[in-house]
Amino acid sequence: MIEVSRYRPAFKPDLRYAYATGRIRALESRQLRRQDIERLIEVRHPEEAVRILTEGGYGGELPRLEGWSDFEYMLEIQQRSVIDLLSELSKDTSISDLFLERYDFYNLKVLLKAKYSHQDLDHLLIGIGRTSIDLLKKAVMESDYRGVSGAIKDIIGWVDTVWEGMLDPQLIDVAVDNRMYDRFLSIVVPFGNRFLHDWLRLEIDLANLRTFLRLKWLGLEDIMDQVLVKGGTIEELKFLSLRGESWERVIEAFRKTGYADVVAEGVGHLLDASSFSRLESLSDGLIISFLRRAKLQPFGIEPLIAYVLLREYEFKAVRAIVVGKMNGVADDLIRERVVNGYV
């Protein structure tokens, strides 16, 4: 069990990252602060929020932002620049590749869905990944596996063989998600960095926890054993044994773990308001406070990884605010969502 509030990172200083760490510290000073987030929440018009972001460096290389349609594009450019920074500064390519491969797995999902639903979904592909989209396309459409990783090849092969029998699109996402985490574990565990391993286990635990609560709420507990991800600190058996139990029992079962607050408060909000937003912002918040521990680390890959992930959470907060603003969500609701997670 990873107790975030008491987590003492065992950092090993890695002087190869001295330059990277210096650069990250300078970049960290430009991240949105609490008052920036507050300012964003309080703007009247979403255009104003976009303007604040552009002034705060979000515009980047964009010539000029013209409102809403460009907003997601703006975030994507930021996302790209963060990933580029990671590739540039990382001395351990296996780790920076892990972050790139997330996009491979995403693209793989899109391509597999396009293949089996006979649609053209090319507009959904994201061209950041480690494997080029053309190679992935060849692998999915023509079973030509040159240039793709073993994990991707396995997934395509597996989906191809079971598809006829199941015809269930959910299968594609579940297969890709599960194997993505397997792949990440297979990179992170031999790498031997405790911070990274703990982060990944935390992610898996929280992903499983959310999945578990969602399935329970939906009454779909029978598929639970297929969709849980392996490799976290919470045993799969623990979740399986809680199938069909009352919500009180579930909260009780996690009381003594580091996830007690996330579960208790998240479930409370779920039952009151039929919304998972609290659960999700609390679980994001837990990961964020875990990642912030990397600020204690003078040199190493940890600050770099933490910076990349924290920026991604920042983008998420910004998106929640701007999308909320566009759709006239009350300030307090936006604040409640963002404050638990980001600030």
């Binding site: 994507e76 959904l124 959910q170 996402d173 579940v174 779909l220 998972f276 937003s277």
Partner: protein, 206 residues
């Protein structure tokens, strides 16, 4: 407008029969219109109820969907939903209300509505889809009712046009024609009476 009729007794009889027929038809159509009207009003009331319910619940669905959208970018969200697992087939049959054919929609729903992985999507998407799924049958029912309403309204319109045609054109015309023929016939009668009297006088005078 006066009907161009020949003022004969035969014609008068024929017109009188037509008038009786028109009056009966008018009454029948009027009854039909009233009946349709009461059906329509009942339906409108029920539709109002269902529509309000569907709208409030749809609003809820959009709320949850918005909440999901707040934590996921548009592309990933679209990718998650790009391959729906739920197939809804509608089977349309017909039923008769007062001789009007109205549709009966029977949905055949199969597959799961949750077509995406759980690890990479926000939970409020589940909530939105669950509520949408519960709403689906209501929405189909509403569609069916609204189509029926439309057909009923068309029929009422048509019936009213007929009633009006009978009431304001055909019946007054017939009445006028009958009056005209009656008067004409009376006139002719008087004429022939006068003629007879004149003939009689001539005969008497000789």
């Amino acid at each position: 407008m006066r009907l161009t009729v020949s003022a004969t007794r035969m014609e008068l009889l024929r017109l009188k029969k037509r008038l009786i027929l028109a009056r009966r038809g008018h009454k029948l159509l009027k009854d039909k219109q009233d009946e349709l009207m009461s059906q329509l009003l009942g339906l409108v009331e029920r539709i109002g109820e269902v529509r309000r319910e569907v709208e409030t619940r749809l609003e809820e669905v959009y709320g949850h969907f918005l909440s999901a959208r707040m934590s996921l970018d548009d592309r990933t969200l679209e990718a998650a939903l790009s391959f729906p697992g739920k197939v809804v087939k509608l089977k349309a049959t017909q039923r008769l209300i007062l001789n009007i054919r109205v549709p009966v929609l029977k949905p055949e729903i199969e597959g799961k509505i949750y077509c995406y992985g759980f690890a990479s999507t926000p939970g409020d998407l589940d909530v939105a889809l669950k509520k949408l799924e519960q709403l689906l049958e209501k929405m189909i029912q509403l569609a069916e009712m609204e189509k029926t309403l439309q057909l009923l309204a068309d029929e009422i319109e048509r019936t009213r046009r007929r009633v009006n045609a009978l009431e304001y054109v055909l019946i007054p015309d017939l009445q006028e024609a009958i009056k005209y023929i009656t008067m004409k016939l009376e006139e002719m009668e008087r004429e022939s009476l006068t003629r007879l009297m004149r003939v009689k006088e001539i005969i008497r005078g000789e």
